[in-house]
Symmetry: C2
Subunit: 334 residues, 2 copies
């Protein structure tokens, strides 16, 4: 079957319809659908339309409360706290957003934590949104445990990504960094497991802590962190911010993001925003000089360059979608 | 020659004397000497007494202004900015400390940046000090460039460490994480170069970007980041915070921390402190549960465990020092 092409607006609309049909409030559905659209725009298919049937299933089984009303508080001038009320992460983040951004401008720095939450899609998009407000954004989110501490065998932290959004002089992000703590994405191991394919050396260990090339054994064991104990350290930093500081369930105690078992994962996010103008008058010039020193070297690629290229292509050609997937999503809308 | 044993107080006193004799104000010398003592206490010899002759030399050649008076401002409620005035980093950090900690308690989060600065010794000790104030500390500092972007060959960022200090319930730090962006410490490559020894595979590339086992060629080339492009990403995060946000010289433009050439490096630090009680009521319990889940696994080691063990040993047995080094330091005091 040949691929279909859709506009970004159509991606967003059908996502809203599928989520509302599953039992999601319009406002909550719109926040999630926007993130689906942004993922498709940037070529990140794992978090695009492919996820819509999972979102719908999670609303239906009660892993996510589609009707949730997030509750925002601001215990201190620079601390915005959002209870996602076991709903989607995106509307919870939206609910706190204006207070978060205002607090960062007024105080020079602010942090927004979200608990009783769920996966927040592409983390880099939240960091980029902070950068588009003219602020430096450092975002963290955690996930059900899949990485054991070095030397151990029981997963304690998730793939726990961080993202950095660096504002440019013109209201857009000049650099977006978005990376998980693991050597590869968990979705890659899932894909190989379904296809009966082996994984690469250095990706994972089995449940006994031994290196494995068997994708199914890897899923029962532990993913390996990028850079050994230093990668685990980065994942631990994210865990302390996104789970411990936010008061979310720890990764080791959270129910899975996949499947229908276990109820709400109650995971969390922690976003930090800095107003560069509060600290220095030369921030834009220094960022430009740093970025140039990387980009000017043959053979290098700026973080986020692949997503930027996909974005330009999508804006020119539309989103290529799998007709079988679209049939499934259209059936969900009925 | 056999080793001598000294008390921690004696380490601190002789460091003050050597620094004052080189032309350092008493207050500035005391701040640096304290960090020297803490490094010896924790068995981190590279930042202990071994560094005192380098500090003294850097004061004498003007790389550091021993007489500097740091200037503190607070442009916003959560933003403390310190101009180290090309003096030592430690007195600059001390100068802003009380305002920084108070701002974090009042606002929930605060950041302190330092520019026109110098290397700040063991980064983890600053993070631990934040934790001892009952706050969660995330510290970054950068260094003259020694790591090229993946695919490139010209160093753009330094070994750029971050450190995390996690407060316990009793006023001490329950966890201190302190790690650089490179596979190994630069001091290890310097040591092998002086000894004419080869380095290990995966540590560095030469000036043409080719893998090398030659320590001297590595020093002319680039150190490799731990975890490939993800390790570089972590170093880039640190660069954006400690250099760009603080308004310090970029790593690529900074004069070296070793030798006497190039004048003040004018590098920077960025420390962030969060008051956990502003965000959640369960922070101590969650941290305890997370730490237990790591420590309970056979074969694992908590970050910072080696330093903790050295600390206990030093407090019991005193600091073992090299008599030849002590002779050099005593000569500096004359």
């Amino acid at each position: 079957m040949t691929e279909r092409t859709m506009t970004l607006a159509a991606v967003e609309q059908i996502s809203i319809r599928a989520l509302v049909a599953a039992g999601t409030r319009e406002e909550n559905a719109a926040a999630v659908a926007r993130s689906t659209m942004l993922a498709e725009r940037d070529g990140i298919r794992s978090h695009g339309l492919l996820y819509v049937p999972i979102y719908a299933e999670h609303v239906r089984c009660g892993k996510v409360d589609g009707m949730a009303h997030p509750v925002v508080s601001q215990p201190r001038a620079g601390a915005v706290v959002v209870d996602a009320a076991t709903g989607f992460a995106h509307p919870a983040i939206d609910a706190g957003w204006d207070r978060f951004v205002t607090a960062a401008r007024e105080n020079g720095v602010a942090a927004m934590t979200v608990f009783n939450s769920y996966n927040c899609g592409v983390l880099g998009h939240h960091a980029e949104r902070i950068a588009e407000a003219g602020l430096l954004g450092l975002c963290t989110t955690h996930a059900p445990a899949s990485i054991a501490p070095p030397g151990g065998r029981r997963p304690v932290i998730g793939t726990n990504p961080f993202a950095l959004g660096v504002p440019g002089a013109d209201g857009s992000a000049v650099l977006v960094l978005d990376q998980s703590a693991s050597v590869v994405a968990k979705s890659e191991i899932l894909l190989r497991s379904r296809g009966g394919l082996p994984i690469e050396p250095g990706w994972a260990i089995d449940a006994d802590g031994a290196p494995t090339l068997d994708a199914a054994a890897a899923l029962k064991g532990s993913m390996l962190p990028a850079g050994g104990h230093k990668g685990f350290g980065v994942g631990l930093l994210v865990e302390i911010l996104a789970s411990c500081l936010s008061g979310a369930a720890l990764s080791k105690d959270a129910s899975p993001f996949s499947g229908t078992a276990g109820g709400p994962p109650r995971t969390g996010q922690c976003f930090i925003a800095f107003d560069p103008s509060a600290f220095s008058g030369v921030f834009p010039q220094q960022v430009a000089s740093l970025v140039d020193a990387i980009a000017a070297q043959e053979g290098t690629r700026l973080p986020g360059a692949r997503r930027q290229a996909a974005r330009l292509r999508t804006e020119r050609e539309g989103v290529r979608v799998d007709p079988a997937l679209m049939e499934r999503i259209e059936a969900l809308c009925a």
